[in-house]
């Protein structure tokens, strides 16, 4: 019998020091029965990709409030690709202007969440992203 749990890495790339949002999401995912690895502040894209590899996660959530998402998100996706981790689903949370969302999604992010997002939405969409057939 297998006992599969969804594993999620919550990471904060870049230099902003605000991790309340990341912690709220981490807690909500834990309460939804997922195993959440939180890496702490100020992670570089290669640190995030390396942690994702070692932890064999299904999903990476990036929390960015610095405004550097247009640079950081593609950099993380690129590093994941270099590590042959293209199967990992990536979402972004934080302060992201509407205009930037299409580009982020284009680059491979499956969802972008702003302030006030219901945590249950995040949970549900992770479950769908990981097991599309279960939808």
């Amino acid at each position: 019998m297998t006992d599969r749990k969804i594993r999620v890495l919550i990471a904060k790339p870049g230099l902003d020091g605000h991790d309340r949002g990341a912690k709220v999401i981490a807690r909500a995912l834990r309460d939804a029965g997922m195993e959440v690895i939180y890496t702490g502040l100020r992670q570089t894209p290669s640190m995030i990709a390396e942690a994702a590899l070692q932890e064999d996660v299904d999903v990476v959530g990036l929390s960015i409030l610095s405004g550097a998402h247009n640079a950081l998100v593609p950099a993380v996706l690129n590093k994941l690709h270099e590590n042959s981790l293209d199967s990992i689903k990536v979402f972004v949370g934080g302060i992201i202007p509407e205009d930037d969302i299409p580009n982020l999604k284009e680059s491979g992010v499956y969802a972008v969440y702003g302030p006030g997002t219901d945590t249950q939405t995040v949970v549900r969409e992770i479950e769908t992203a990981v097991n599309p057939e279960r939808d």
Binding site: D3, G40, D56, L85
Partner: protein, 342 residues
């Protein structure tokens, strides 16, 4: 799921290793083959356990130990180090927040280090059900040292003593009086004791209380030497072990080290203790004895699991429910019910 090549794991393919760990943790059909393929290559790694109360600084300490070992090996090739960090699973949601990596950021980017967080998934001894299997895979993958950080442990989470060759118990200052120190349990399993946060004023007092406790244990003849557990619990036929114990004059004296894991003060001495303990185990054949004991216990655990699984497959569910409801209605005691169910 694509199949994982055990040979790739042996060659240092980190992605293959990572996926293999997941397979074992989730008990997928392939996990058995992976463990079987790697097992012949195991038995070389030094398994070091780090345990202690929540917030005593285990992760920070592990970070410093690994960093020191990687950076200070001089001209030699630095040892490859794997870290298994276990954190508790919520008994309500089944989820877990694994935060040990936060304290290990110094180790990021070093390809000679592999860190894996693990949720306890309901196991109560301070480790997860498959932590031992993780150690097997990592050992087979060629890591020289495997550091296992337990769940924040209190008094009874002593599974690590069975798994690890060397157990480090971490205490923080001001965590209770000297009566706590003479209670049975976690302090007894220490091969090395660390009083962390030594920059705090109470640290010296804590170290002194622990020292008194160890001296008392020593004079009572039950010094926590490695291998003591073997003698007590192994079933008879442990001839070589017992003989060894009797012939041996020198016992391991558990050192108490004041360490400040935040800035690395005291780490050098601690790492020297870890190496010295390994030499001690090897010199007195205790390394082998510990292996024998552990493998026997692992086998027992596997048999228990398998028997349980077989029983679950064989039992008629309606019968089981009937007996259970009899117990709930106090018509039958659980002890009597055994005869009906087995």
């Amino acid at each position: 799921m694509p199949s994982i090549d055990p040979e790739a794991i042996r060659q240092g393919d980190r992605l293959a290793l990572s996926r293999a760990l997941t397979a074992v943790e989730n008990n997928t059909p392939q996990s058995k083959d992976l463990q079987a393929a790697l097992f012949p290559h195991t038995g070389k790694a030094h398994l070091v356990g780090v345990t202690g109360a929540p917030g005593s600084g285990k992760s920070t300490l592990v970070n410093q130990i690994a960093k020191f070992l990687r950076e200070s090996s001089g001209s030699e090739i630095p040892p490859k180090i794997a870290i298994i960090a276990v954190d508790p699973t919520s008994p309500f949601s089944g989820g877990a927040l694994l935060g040990d990596r936060i304290r290990m950021r110094d180790l990021a980017g070093d390809k000679g280090i592999f860190i894996r967080s693990m949720a306890s998934r309901g196991a109560l001894g301070g480790l997860a059900h498959s932590t031992a299997a993780f150690a097997t895979l990592l050992d087979g993958a060629g890591f020289d040292m495997i550091i296992i950080e337990t769940v924040g442990a209190g008094q009874a989470e002593v599974d690590i003593a069975r798994l690890a060759h060397t157990v480090i118990v971490v205490e923080a200052p001001g965590m209770g009086d000297d009566i706590q120190a003479i209670k049975a349990g976690i302090l007894e399993i220490a091969d090395i004791m660390v009083v962390n946060k030594a920059d705090k004023p109470e640290a010296e007092n804590t170290a002194r209380a622990l020292k008194v406790m160890l001296q008392m244990a020593n004079s009572g003849g039950s010094m926590p030497i490695a291998g003591k557990h073997l003698r007590r619990t192994s079933r008879g036929k442990d001839g070589p072990v017992k003989q060894e114990q009797e012939e041996k004059k020198e016992t391991w004296e558990t050192p108490i080290r004041l360490v400040t894991a935040m800035d690395g003060k005291g780490i050098e001495t601690l790492v020297a203790d870890i190496h010295r303990h390994r030499e001690y185990l090897e010199n007195y054949d205790l390394w082998k004895a510990k292996e024998i004991y552990r493998l026997e216990k692992d086998l027992e655990a596997l048999i228990k699991d398998k028997l349980m699984e077989n029983w679950q497959e064989s039992i008629d569910e309606s019968r089981y429910k009937k007996v259970l409801s009899d117990i709930i209605d106090r018509k039958r005691s659980p002890i009597e019910a055994l005869d009906l169910l087995l």
